[in-house]
């Protein structure tokens, strides 16, 4: 519980973060930037977990643990994603998402 800041404030911030991330994912063409947008979405959710834990069920710890897991897995996911992006670059010399279209009909 932080003085002067209610859960509504935090939820407002995370909602804005989430939609910035979603908007970035849908509009940016650069794969790296899209990956960053995904990180924004993930972190918005992370903050939500911690906030709900802290404000609603302060006696439990599950929200914290979830955040830990998500941070850990997000790190691994970023490593895999960047490896994929590097391989894509080696193959088609571009990391523009619109150039990656082999997997259509």
């Amino acid at each position: 519980m932080i003085e002067g800041i209610s859960i509504h404030h935090i939820l407002t911030v995370t909602t804005i973060m989430f939609f910035i991330g979603a908007y970035g994912f849908l509009t940016r063409k650069n794969l790296i930037t899209m990956l960053m947008s995904i990180e924004l979405v993930l972190n918005a959710v992370n903050i939500n977990f911690v906030a709900f834990n802290k404000y609603l069920y302060p006696e439990n710890m599950q929200g914290h643990f979830f955040s830990m897991f998500i941070i850990g897995i997000a790190a691994a996911e970023a490593a895999v994603a960047i490896a994929i992006i590097i391989n894509i670059y080696r193959n088609i010399h571009s990391i523009d998402v619109e150039d990656i279209e082999q997997m259509k009909y």
Partner: protein, 640 residues
């Protein structure tokens, strides 16, 4: 005495088939032939050993009857407690006798083929299929149950098909193999239905239970009668239909003459000595049921057999292809065997016909294989099948000449050669049952002597023809089987057959019936004399005889137009009236429906395939808008 080794009699040829079939192109060609012969030597030795032990040591039960011994048994397919299909070896007098016949003839044919097929392109293939056939035939005769028999029955049909089409570049050989396969397959349809009805009525496939006179086949009293025959009778007639197909009985005989397109050793082994008597063996195997439960069905067997024998004998008198003459003669002799089964009763003395049939099967295998192998030696020497292109060959081929003469005497029923004894027993059995059968077979005996000696004089006497090169005697690998089989044809008649093979296993003694034998010898000698007068020196006597028969001769020459009749029925009636409309329905209704479904699917797919664009962000925006839509629906439209 353990008989479990008998399984190897069948398995050794199978192993040879696998080796020759898989590696025939890799190993040395001559080796495949020697391997086939070696395998057959072992199998022959084993089956002689089995026969010796069975007949002289352990076969007899306490009451003196030969019992059925299960040498080997394995449960192969199990459906329920009572319904299961086994694979095994059943030894009883007829199967042991067949083992001896098959292995002997097959060994001789293998040795003969070493010389006959030398230099042939398909040498190793030929030996592989020959082993396959031997395996299937051995598996057929030792079958413990009717289903195993059916499987091997189809296998011999298959190997016959493969061997007839050995010269597959020749369209006539391909056509003949297809004809043989389709005709016998059609008859086997009846066999299969018969098996199903029989096993439905009795609840078993097992021969031991089926043929046991206290078994369920004799207990059941089905009162259902259809066209004057009980259900059991119909089942047995349908089974006989399968047997008639394999044994080339009228009206399924049309494939046998054409099957002569195959190599001559194949004709000797398959289409003279072993496979074509499978039908006779089948009836003999189920004989107790035929004789006790359905004497009507047995009467059908007798009528078909008797008719086939005279029908084929008449045709044989007119043909000019030597192998075809022998083919019709085979059909005629098998008719004898069928008739003998048909007139037989069950029991020791009453079962004379059964014993005579098996005896004739045994002797016929020897002399008919000899005739075919002799014909093969002649064809090998002068490269033609046509009787009119042969003459005076006795100068060039003395061994073939003598052995062929012995075989002709044997098949004509001249004592003391083998055919005399077995034919005499058949005639006695026919005489005791119904005199009409006797007189028919008596005439056939005369016809047999006539056409065999027409062949003999035509080939070895008469005017010398122009040959491509001077004919020469066949190599030793070919003359050895001829000599061996000639000795067998001369002496096997003295085997006291009734001491070994009888319908119920009880041995009995037979005595000569001279009042039957003398007329049959008489008509045989009459036939020989007619042939001598007609064909010893070429004259116009045969032509005058032909003229006096008029159109009857023309019908016989064209095999009474049965091929044409079947073609007419198949093409003009079945194909045109039934098959074509059904084919039209299939193509224009059923296929069109299916095609329509496919076309519509294809059309829709073309229209909507753009949805899968490969653009990640399009998918993501659809996903996000979907989620948003769901949120709107759940929050504002559906009030929980």
């Amino acid at each position: 005495m353990e008989f479990s080794y008998t399984i190897y009699i069948a398995l050794i040829p199978f192993a040879v088939f696998v080796i020759n079939g898989l590696f025939g192109s890799k190993i040395k060609e001559s080796f495949t032939g020697y391997l086939g012969v070696a395998g057959m030597v072992v199998a022959t030795y084993l089956s002689y050993f089995t026969a010796y032990h069975y007949f002289f040591k352990v076969g007899k039960a306490v009451d003196g009857a030969y019992q059925k011994v299960i040498g080997f048994n394995m449960e192969w397919l199990r459906f329920t407690e009572s319904l299961h299909i086994d694979i095994g070896v059943l030894l009883d007098p007829i199967s042991v006798m067949m083992l001896v016949v098959i292995t002997t003839i097959s060994l001789m044919v293998h040795i003969y083929s070493l010389g006959y097929m030398k230099g042939d392109k398909g040498y190793s293939r030929f030996f592989a299929f020959l082993s396959l056939f031997t395996f299937s035939m051995l598996g057929l005769v030792v079958a413990t149950n009717i289903f195993q028999m059916y499987m091997f029955w189809e296998l011999v049909g298959l190997s016959s098909y493969l061997l007839i089409a050995h010269y597959y570049q020749k369209p006539s050989a391909v056509a003949a193999s297809k004809k043989a396969f389709i005709v016998t397959r059609f008859a086997d349809l009846g066999f299969l239905i018969g098996i199903l009805i029989l096993s439905y009525l009795t609840g078993t496939f097992d021969f031991n239970i089926l043929c046991n006179p206290e078994g369920p086949a004799f207990m059941q009293s089905s009162s259902a009668v259809f066209l004057g025959l009980s259900t059991m009778g119909w089942a047995l007639i349908l089974i006989f239909m399968g047997g008639a197909g394999k044994s080339a009985m009228f009206p399924f005989h049309i494939w046998l003459p054409d099957a002569m397109e195959g190599p001559t050793p194949v004709s000797a082994l398959i289409h003279a000595a072993t496979m074509v008597v499978a039908g006779v063996f089948l009836i003999a195997r189920l004989f107790p049921i035929f004789a006790i439960v359905a004497p009507n069905a047995l009467e059908v067997v007798a009528v078909i057999g008797g008719f086939s024998s005279i029908f084929a004998a008449v045709i044989a008198c007119t043909q000019t292809d030597i192998k075809r003459i022998l083919a019709f003669s085979t059909m005629s002799q098998i008719g004898y065997m069928m008739l003998a089964l048909g007139v037989s009763g069950y029991g020791a003395e009453a079962g004379l016909g059964f014993m005579a049939s098996m005896f004739h099967l045994f002797t016929h295998a020897m002399f008919k294989a000899l005739l075919f192998l002799g014909a093969g030696a002649i064809i090998h020497a002068i490269h033609t099948n046509n009787l009119s292109e042969m003459g005076n060959l006795r100068k060039y081929m003395p061994i073939t000449h003598i052995t062929f003469l012995i075989a002709c005497l044997a098949i004509s029923g001249i004592p003391p050669f083998a055919g005399f004894f077995s034919k005499d027993e058949i005639l006695v059995a026919a005489y005791n049952h119904n005199q009409i059968y006797f007189w028919v077979e008596w005439i056939v005996a005369g016809l047999t002597a006539f056409y065999m000696f027409r062949l003999y004089f035509g080939i070895f006497w008469g005017k010398e023809k122009k040959y491509e090169h001077t004919p020469h005697e066949a190599p030793f690998s070919m003359t050895f089987p001829l000599i061996f089989l000639a000795i067998a044809s001369a002496i096997v008649g003295f085997i006291p057959f009734s001491n070994f093979v009888t319908s119920d296993g009880l041995p009995f003694d037979i005595q000569m019936h001279w009042e039957i034998a003398l007329p049959s010898i008489g008509i045989a000698i009459f036939g020989i004399i007619v042939a001598f007068v007609f064909y010893k020196k070429e004259s116009d006597l045969p032509n005058r005889a032909v003229a006096s028969f008029g159109s009857f001769y023309k019908y016989a020459l064209n095999k009474f137009y049965f091929d044409e009749l079947y073609l007419f029925v198949a093409k003009k009636v079945i194909f045109k009236r039934f098959s074509s409309p059904i084919a039209w329905f299939d193509r224009h209704i059923i296929d069109a429906t299916m095609d329509g479904v496919a076309t519509i699917t294809n059309y829709i797919a073309l229209k909507i395939k753009g949805l899968q664009s490969g653009q990640l962000q399009q998918y993501a925006s659809v996903f996000v808008s979907g989620v948003l839509l769901l949120i709107v629906i759940f929050i504002y439209l559906i009030s929980v």
